[in-house]
């Protein structure tokens, strides 16, 4: 049967050859990599899908990245900074009590659907949110509203707090007045949040017709939030299509925009959920930019000619303790020892993107309220050892939780950071028991309910106010931290009650000092999240709040 040999060989060779040809023949299509002129579509690789096109129903950055291009809030932040500047309101002010906020609105602004922007439109929006009903009152939908304004006109769940929002009145065509029941440190920051961007009254009417359903075992987003068409804002881009199969949202330049018009006609956000995937897509010329660049890739990309601007830091990574969970942590010396044991400089130097900083308190230095006089805990393994010995906890064991497969702006590679912290702690004689968990929901669940002795978490500020940082954690007893310390709680709460901005800054400083003395957790670093752009792109100003305005983008 040797006869078959040659035929068989030829058969297989042909098959292999065919495959190779098939593989190689895709080369003749233009990738648009270096040829920028005349390109009318900018594709940005996003790390995740938006959940909704209506920002008021969402609470995640991926949603806001998209909606910010189409919808604008009353107050915006200066490009590339955290300072609040006029948005749809040219000017704003509050009375002495901090309860009445007056907005002088921009004139001549038009919505994508042709509606006119005015005070009535602003109030229609705030009243719409205030009057949300049924499923919309779930924090799955109105997370930010509840966070900033508490409850609703008619709370359907008795456990919801009373609303802090009182009313909105259109004093005249271009003046809106919003009243709240009590002064809050969240104001005026809240007015700058993406969820509170203004929609056209016409679209609001349509939106009101659709109810979010939350029956059976899941929550269903209303149809209008999943398909462009109804929603209309005032931004430089308008929503055009959402192709979920392609994970691709397309926006189109809005010709009637009041400000500087978008330079590129089409703006596309495509989801590529892995760091490697995004990097390779940029390198391959499939996309023109992407967010959350892995620190290790920054140099590689720069050397290859890509642009990797670094944002200013506006976040914090900390090592948190749950004191209730491990009684040893209730001892101040133990917490101090751990703070001394960690070589934060080394972590920042080797792992964080350039521009990263060692943190010495629970807010970055760009926030008003940052104190120069907090207690410092320098890296000192011997001191850590002796402190532990003094506390009688030389054999300290920690169940240390850390998240897997996640990248946060403040924490590019959690496992690496954990490994380094662990290695440092072990040098000081602390036994570390690693507890890796999937970020969502396992890890978040475990840390929030205080199931770990120690853990790594962080925060990116919503707006430039100290309370948005320390108020999040230390205003009251929280299972995550598992301690009750009135000195800390009082200091933090007192600061939020001060209406006078200068007085509030001083109060924040005092609060920071109190916190760092008590050291409920170890602030580790402020990490600048990197964003990358193609060689032929004029990138937008990068924002510490990750609020890039893509209307600024153009091709070289």
């Amino acid at each position: 049967m040797r006869i078959l040999k040659s035929r068989g060989a030829r058969m297989a060779t042909a098959a292999v050859a065919a495959t190779l040809v098939v593989t190689a023949c895709g080369s003749d299509r233009d990738k648009g990599g270096d040829e920028g002129k005349g390109k009318d579509t900018f594709v940005f690789g996003a790390p995740g899908d938006p959940s909704s096109l209506d920002p008021s129903l969402a609470s995640d950055g991926e949603t806001f990245r998209v909606t910010r291009q189409a919808f604008e809030a009353l107050i915006e932040h200066e490009p590339g900074g955290t300072k609040m500047v006029g948005g749809l309101a040219e000017k704003w002010s509050s009375d002495a009590t901090g309860k009445v906020w007056t907005f002088n609105l921009r004139k001549g602004v038009e919505f994508h659907d042709g509606d006119k922007f005015n005070a009535a439109a602003v109030c229609a929006n705030y009243d719409h949110w205030y009057n949300l009903k049924g499923g919309y009152q779930s924090s799955a939908f109105s997370e930010y509203w509840q966070y900033m304004f508490g409850g609703f006109a008619k709370n359907e769940d008795p456990e919801l707090p009373k609303s802090n929002y009182k009313s909105c009145t259109a004093k005249d065509e271009n003046t809106a007045v919003i009243e709240v029941n009590e002064a809050s440190a969240n104001l005026p920051g809240a007015f700058s949040l993406a969820p509170f961007a203004i929609h056209s009254p016409k679209s609001l009417k349509e939106m009101d017709k659709q109810q979010a359903t939350a029956e059976g075992d899941a929550i269903t987003y209303p149809e209008y939030s999943q398909k462009p068409g109804i929603l209309a804002g005032t931004g430089p881009y308008k929503l055009k299509s959402w192709n979920k199969g392609n994970k691709e949202i397309t926006l189109e330049a809005f010709d009637g925009y009041w400000g500087d018009k978008a330079k590129v006609k089409n703006l596309v956000f495509r989801t590529i959920d892995t760091e490697d995937g995004r990097r390779q897509a940029l390198q391959a010329g499939d996309i023109d930019g992407y967010d959350l660049v892995a620190p290790a890739d920054v140099k590689t990309l720069e050397q290859a000619g890509f642009q990797v601007p670094t944002r200013d830091v506006f976040n914090l990574l900390y090592l948190g303790f749950t004191q209730e969970k491990n009684k040893a942590l209730e001892k101040l010396e133990v917490r101090q020892a751990i703070s001394h044991a960690i070589n934060r400089e080394s972590i920042v130097k080797t792992q964080l993107p350039e521009g990263g900083k060692v943190a010495n308190q629970f807010m970055p230095d760009t926030v008003a309220g940052f104190s120069d006089k907090v207690t410092e805990y320098a890296f000192d393994t011997d001191k850590a050892k002796s402190l532990l010995k003094d506390a009688g906890e030389s054999g300290l064991k920690l169940n240390f939780c850390y998240p897997t497969e996640v990248t946060r702006p403040y924490m590019p590679a959690p496992q690496d950071i954990f490994e380094s912290v662990k290695s440092d702690l072990e040098k000081a004689g602390v036994k570390v028991n690693p507890k890796p968990m999937k970020w969502n929901p396992d890890y978040l669940d475990a840390t929030k309910t205080g199931a770990c002795d120690a853990y790594l978490l962080g925060w990116t500020g919503d707006f430039n106010d100290g309370f948005n940082f320390i108020g999040t954690w230390f205003a009251k007893y929280d299972k995550q931290w598992g301690f009750k310390n009135d000195k800390v709680f009082d200091a933090v709460n007192a600061s939020s009650k001060v209406v006078d901005p200068a007085g509030r800054v001083d109060a924040y400083k005092a609060a920071n000092e109190a916190i760092m003395e008590f050291i409920p957790g170890v602030p580790i670093s402020h990490s600048p999240p990197s964003i990358a752009f193609g060689k032929n792109v004029n990138p937008p100003k990068v924002s510490p709040l990750t609020q890039e305005n893509f209307a600024e983008v153009s091709f070289k």
């Binding site: 290790a296 920054v298 140099k299 590689t300 050397q303 080797t350 993107p353 350039e354 490994e419 290695s423």
Partner: protein, 320 residues
């Protein structure tokens, strides 16, 4: 008829000549299989690879030059600048991304990899063989209920086989939390239906063999036939599968690591975990990925080649 008196010298001479003549009838099935295995190039290559791997795994860690978990040279590796440290006198395989000695980690990794492979294979083998054995016995011993039981068990394993094994493993890991044990259980459980089906199928096939029918007709009790004849004769495909499973287990463990469900203990990572960590830096430090990747590929290949060669050696149909 010629009357030849058989004399002793004649008989001796005959016995001598008969003995020198090569005769194949005396060899047992297993010895024949062993012979075929030894002649198979693939089998020999596989066996050599496995031998090297096992020696590396058992003895290697004692010769690890450094503590695999200690970040001794942490400040020399600048992830954020893409600066990595390649092989050098002190660190034969260079440093990993956190400044640990990659060679020491590789050696310890070999042991962990072997451990994961063997334990998860055993989990699959033991549980699968029990299920398959009972089911096969029930089917062979017959009876209405036996058949029903068998059908039920097989329906369950069918469903298990239909489910993507990785998703099954992921959901197991989700329940048990992350640990090396979880990896071994998750990877092992996935193998259960494979072993169960295999043993049962093999037992049923043996049950139809003539020698079993013959034993039955001799009035030997069915239970005894199952234990003494059917079961031992059905084991060869299971043994082959066990060898192949070792390869699958190693790869599957690597996949779990990639999905972030691997062992959290980075002081003693298995190669899959090392690869997962290293592949992030593939552009800057490709060698960091290459060591564990080559380790996994070669080892898995070794087990697979040996398994395939064993299958062939044991399969009477493929002889000749």
């Amino acid at each position: 008829m010629s009357l030849v008196t058989p004399n002793t010298s004649k008989i001796d001479r005959l016995a001598e000549l008969t003995a020198t003549h090569e005769s194949s009838s005396g060899n047992s099935l297993w010895r024949e299989a062993w012979g075929r295995l030894r002649r198979s190039k693939a089998g020999v290559i596989g066996a050599v690879v496995i031998a090297v791997f096992v020696v590396l795994a058992v003895v290697g860690p004692w010769f690890a030059p450094h503590n695999p978990a200690a970040q001794i040279w942490r400040d020399e590796v600048l992830i954020n600048k893409g600066e990595f440290v390649g092989p050098r006198g002190e660190n034969w395989f260079g440093l990993d991304h956190l400044g640990r000695d990659q060679f020491s980690r590789f050696l310890v990794g070999a042991r962990q990899t072997l451990l994961v492979g063997v334990v998860s294979m055993l989990i699959g083998l033991v549980i699968g063989a029990i299920i398959g054995g009972v089911s096969g016995a029930a089917a062979t011993l017959g009876g209405r209920n036996g058949k029903r039981f068998d059908t039920f068990v097989m329906r369950v394993t069918d469903i298990m086989l239909a489910l993507p094994s990785l998703l099954l493993a992921v959901s197991i890991a989700a329940v048990l939390g992350q640990s090396l044990t979880t990896v071994m259980i998750a990877v092992g459980v996935v193998q259960i239906p494979i072993f169960a089906r295999l043993l049962r199928g093999s037992m049923l096939a043996q049950g139809n063999k003539e020698y079993v029918l013959a034993a039955r007709s001799l009035g030997i009790r069915k239970r005894r036939i199952v234990m003494t004849n059917i079961l031992p004769n059905s084991l060869s495909p299971v043994i082959v599968q066990a060898t192949l499973s070792l390869a699958t287990a190693i790869i599957e463990a690597a996949a779990l690591s990639y999905l972030g469900l691997g062992s959290p203990d980075q002081s003693a990572p298995e190669w899959g975990a090392m690869l997962t960590q290293a592949q992030r830096f593939f552009d800057n430090a490709p060698m960091m990925s290459v060591y564990p990747a080559v380790g996994i590929i070669i080892t898995a290949l070794g087990f697979t080649l040996l398994g395939e060669a064993m299958r062939e050696a044991l399969d009477p149909k493929l002889r000749g």
